[in-house]
Amino acid sequence: MTLLEYVIVGVMFLLGIMAVEVRNLFYSVIFLSALSILAAFVFVLMRAPDVAMAEAAIGSGLLTAILLFTLKRVEGGKNE
Amino acid sequence: MSYFGYGLISVGVVFYFLGALGILRMPDVWNRLQAGTKATTIGSFSTILGVGLIRPEWFLKTLVLVILIALTNPVGSSAIARAAYVAKTKVYPGTTVDQIGSLSSGDDER
């Protein structure tokens, strides 16, 4: 159980750094979505099932969709 | 009854392993998608039904879950495959048949 927690925390740290640092904006949104799913899992481990349901539905569904729609409107963003 | 459930869970684990192996070994996007989707659909079916057989009071809920997975999983994989085709992903050179290209060569832009 504790090994699982350490692995999840490590992966969350890596995903956060990747989401902030990666050049391609599309990859950035996808890493943010994966981070949200892992955060929902952490909420389940913290015995907060209500918050986990809201986070899983919003972080993986609505937030990703809204960010991708924005990205498509600004034509890929042209980062540098 | 519960031994049968454990047997179903073991079958599901084997299918999950085969799916992961297929994702690692297959050459391009569509082959990997096919391996992953087919194997994990059967794996999820037998795992969830096995849990429902071990705890008989949950059996109806697991049946609903199986029906939902049967409805959504093929649709999702077909959407991913079509998106990969539209985005002109690289195709494995051994591929010989391109049915979408021969069917809708003109109106690809919709």
Partner: protein, 231 residues
Amino acid sequence: MKKLLALIISLALFIFLFQLVMETPSKLLSERVSSRYVQKNVLSSGEAEETSANLVTSVVLSYRGLDTLGEVTVLFAAATGVAFFMKNVKERLNFLFSSFIVQTGARVVSPLLVTLGIYIFIHGHLTPGGGFQGGTTIAITTLLLYVAGGLVERKRTVFRTLEGLSGSVYVLIGLMGLAVGGAFLYNFLPLGKIGELFSSGIVPVIYVLIGIKVGSELSNLVLHTTGGDNS
């Protein structure tokens, strides 16, 4: 150079917050603010705040009911802002992968998803879930129908009407509590026993209203974000 400076600043912030959290003592259960909501028995049917089985629902709708009204209003303000900024954006987003299979699948799955959302917010005071989660599920159904080829383009006035209606009824129930019991959002319905569907007074009613409001609000927000003719 600038990245190095940002790294130093964020590391300093991290160390500062770490010290702050380390020195905060962890409280016992009896010293918490929420201990009154926690220590309750299934068999008793006591005060108004003690009869919903989900403690989070009890805190959201009994202890902070007025706050929840304010938060739903903030969501409404955000949706209005999105509609204002996207007003002149004419072109719609097109999805090349909205094939026949996806459309049929969306048509089959969407009633099941709406049913799931309604189940979640009706049982919000008994099981995990509630108005916010159910509303989000309904908004995701709207998103699915949009991605599958614009099947919900005509439903905008329905969403707008539902959203305004549920918000008005929320305020109306609060005012009825003010008239009956002398406090805004006073729990004036019969309370019942913990664990049954018709228990804990006005809490399930308000949670259903919040579910409808959040669902239509987020659906409107998604439809505004995708642009097109907002009318």
